[in-house]
Subunit: 92 residues, 2 copies
């Protein structure tokens, strides 16, 4: 989950969405990739979430360390992120 | 996502897991309910995550406001939570 910096525009958020949408066709270790802006139902939420499923920890690490993913983080996400919270957890 | 307060024990976290596992059979508006402790792969993560899918915003609100859910939050989660981050987002 991310909180965007003050002044982040809808067009910038759409660019985040579009950029993330390119990843599953490039990084085949991703099993399921869902993300989007907060729906505005509750107060105090973060602004955007990425939920990614992987068949194994190794597949997750391939994604985490993939150069295209790292480039996207550096170029698209990092400039907009005010704060981030993350968990990796094991699915049943 | 939650960060637990200092001194939270594995037994308390297991009780969180067991308690959350009771909800889908009680709150039928939950379509998919996955949760668990951080896997310890990366530094700086939160400690626990709950990912819940719903067929509609109305179903989410039924869950959010369900008395059994609210009781679980008050009795089991709230005493352990140091910080929380949340997003609701629309699935494709």
């Amino acid at each position: 989950m991310f909180r965007w910096i003050e002044g982040t525009t809808p067009a910038q958020v759409q660019f985040v969405t579009d950029s993330l949408n390119t990843l599953p066709s490039i990084i085949h270790e991703i099993s399921r990739y869902q993300h989007g802006p907060d729906a505005g139902i509750n107060q105090g939420n973060f602004d955007y979430v990425v939920v990614a499923d992987f068949a194994s920890v190794e597949n997750y690490l391939s994604y985490r360390d993939h150069p295209v993913h790292k480039q996207l983080i550096a170029d698209v996400l990092a400039p907009l992120i005010a704060s981030r919270s993350a968990v990796q957890y094991l699915l049943d």
